[in-house]
């Protein structure tokens, strides 16, 4: 089943067309890879699907509902979470608090009550709310083996752990789809190895994962399906095997051989 798709999505910055009429589909429960050379429009596509950017034309559908012009916080609340290429943690907050912020709209808020009443409730019962959020946040830290760093400031974490924390924070919003923007960037081979396991564990939780990645070993190993962008266009999609043998993809990455 397709949970998220873009229809002829185009994003132009003045005369530069970053993404051009891309039809991108995400299937439920799978790990989808999004690859392409630098500047191919991968992150732009991510931003347009997660509400941080608005497409010039085209549409985005999530579970059949159009979310094209929705703002980022709305889209997150619908069940789409993301991480960022250049890690965006709340640096001066503790590791635990980072995850607690991720739980923001999941805690202390009863959808049946009015917004104001919910806010007042969480204010009056600060202690109870804190404990409940604390407990849930700790569970996510345990999932990533970060419990020992809970009270550490996020900026003091080693790089690899910062990446993991960002994923933990995104998962705390309880998403149906998780977008990872170059999760393995800057990681050494053993860190990448453990990241691959983590991503599989995330999929096993029932979360659909979409990832941008340049590390081909990682992409070919864990992705169920791969989409390739080049110059803002969708040039191929299929299983890792198909992509590996696709001539257009090889050309995009390695260039064409002179006749």
């Amino acid at each position: 089943m397709i949970v998220l798709e873009t229809k002829k999505l185009t994003r132009a910055y003045g005369g530069v067309v970053a993404v051009s009429e891309v039809d991108f589909q995400v299937k439920d429960g799978l790990i989808t890879g999004l690859i392409g050379p630098n500047g191919a429009g991968k992150t732009t596509l991510f931003n347009n699907m997660t509400g941080l950017d608005t497409p010039t034309s085209g549409q985005v559908f999530y579970n059949g509902e159009e979310i094209t012009n929705k703002s980022a916080h709305r889209i997150c609340r619908l069940g789409i979470a993301r991480t960022f290429q250049n890690i965006r943690l709340f640096k001066e907050l503790s590791v635990l608090e980072n995850v607690m912020v991720g739980l923001h709209f999941k805690t202390g808020k009863d959808p049946l009550k009015g917004r104001l009443k919910a806010a007042v409730d969480s204010y009056l019962h600060v202690r109870t709310e804190y404990d409940a959020t604390h407990e849930k946040a700790m569970k996510w830290l345990e999932f990533f083996g970060l419990s020992e760093f809970a009270d550490e400031l996020a900026r003091n974490l080693p790089y690899g752990h910062q990446r993991e924390l960002e994923i933990a924070r995104a998962l705390a919003t309880d998403p149906q789809i998780l977008f990872l923007d170059e999760p393995a960037a800057g990681m050494n081979p053993s860190e990448t190895e453990s990241l691959m396991n983590t991503i599989r564990r995330i999929r096993d939780l029932g979360v659909t994962v979409v990832l941008i990645e340049h590390d081909m070993k990682l992409v070919m190993n864990i992705c169920d399906t791969i989409t390739v962008l080049n110059y803002g266009r969708n040039i191929a999609q299929g299983t890792p095997e198909e992509i590996r043998n696709n001539e257009q993809v090889i050309e995009a990455y390695l260039g064409k051989e002179e006749e």
Partner: protein, 304 residues
């Protein structure tokens, strides 16, 4: 002498209220707003006009002053909070000046530059709290500070407090976590404005008169100094900051040197304080509240 110290403490209390509001806006949400003087003025005039012209009791004018200032906070917050950093500072500075100019020129309502005199004293259970006796007024002011401190401290530890800090740290990441950044910024702005309005109410019943000349840009700068000096993101620290700044500005009078040291001296000193703090101790005297489990929750003790 003792009277003079009491006077400093009363002003510390009034300014501490404004500093608490400024701390929520600047220390928690990271917005450089320079408009506390404007909200302070609105609060002062609300109490002055309502109690002098309409004979309404002080205790009723206080919430009205707070709410009206908060509403103005929303009104100027909605358009200006799209701006960041210096641009926001300039826009809010402009608002403060607009308020002062309106008060100066709207003769039929505010009596222009003459201001409003003979504001009634606060009464508690039929007892007049005279600003000349000072002790009573001191208690009233610091009760306000205590209540505001508890309310704002609690707010900072709630999920809203975490959301505000997340917005400060990274607005884009915060909105990707389902946080409506604009809404929280406006809320913080409104609450900070509201408390400054309450401070204004107290000020007008302390001086027993209001004139537009009081609410200059310097007031906003002083409040900002208090927050920076004490420590951004720490409500107890900004109250300390308020005391130090008030103490410094009355120091020449306190030691009887006001003939030698001109009043402009304090402005030079504030500038020096801001610059020195920024270079040597940008986190302020006490610094941001320590991380980990909020102190007010520590009663359970130990790690879980």
């Amino acid at each position: 002498m003792i009277n003079f110290i009491l006077l400093i403490l009363i002003y510390t209390g009034i300014y501490a209220l404004m500093a608490i509001g400024q701390n929520l806006i600047t220390g928690y949400v990271g917005l450089l707003s320079l408009t506390q003087a404007g909200f302070f003025a609105i609060g002062s005039y609300v109490t002055a006009i309502l109690s002098v012209t309409y004979g309404i009791d002080f205790w009723i004018t206080v919430p009205i002053a707070g709410i009206l200032a908060a509403l103005f906070g929303v009104v100027i917050g909605l358009p200006t909070l799209r701006l960041s950093g210096d641009y926001l500072a300039i826009a809010t500075l402009g608002f403060g000046e607009i308020v002062r100019n309106i008060l100066n020129n709207w003769d039929s309502l505010t009596n222009g530059p003459m201001g409003i005199q003979r504001i009634p004293m606060i009464t508690v259970f039929g007892m007049k709290i005279s600003p000349y006796a000072k002790w009573g007024f001191l208690v009233v002011v610091w009760l306000f500070v205590l209540v505001a401190f508890v309310l704002f401290e609690r707010l900072a530890n709630s999920r809203m407090g975490r959301a505000l800090e997340a917005v400060r740290e990274d607005e884009i990441a915060a909105s990707s976590m389902g946080i409506n950044a604009t809404r929280y910024k406006v809320w913080a702005f409104a609450l900070g404005a509201g408390i400054a309005g309450v401070a204004g109410s107290l000020q007008s019943t302390f001086i027993l008169s209001v004139t537009p000349g009081v609410f200059t840009f310097m007031v906003s700068i002083m409040v900002l100094c208090m927050v920076v000096l004490g420590g951004m993101g720490n409500f107890a620290a900004v109250i300390l900051g308020a005391f130090i700044i008030q103490f410094i500005s009355y120091f020449p009078q306190l030691v009887g040197l006001s003939n030698i040291i001109p009043p402009q001296f304090k402005q030079i000193l504030f500038g020096l304080i801001l610059v020195t703090m920024m270079i040597w101790r940008p986190q302020g005297i006490l610094g941001r509240k320590t991380r980990g489990e909020p102190a007010i929750f520590k009663r359970r003790g130990g790690k879980k």
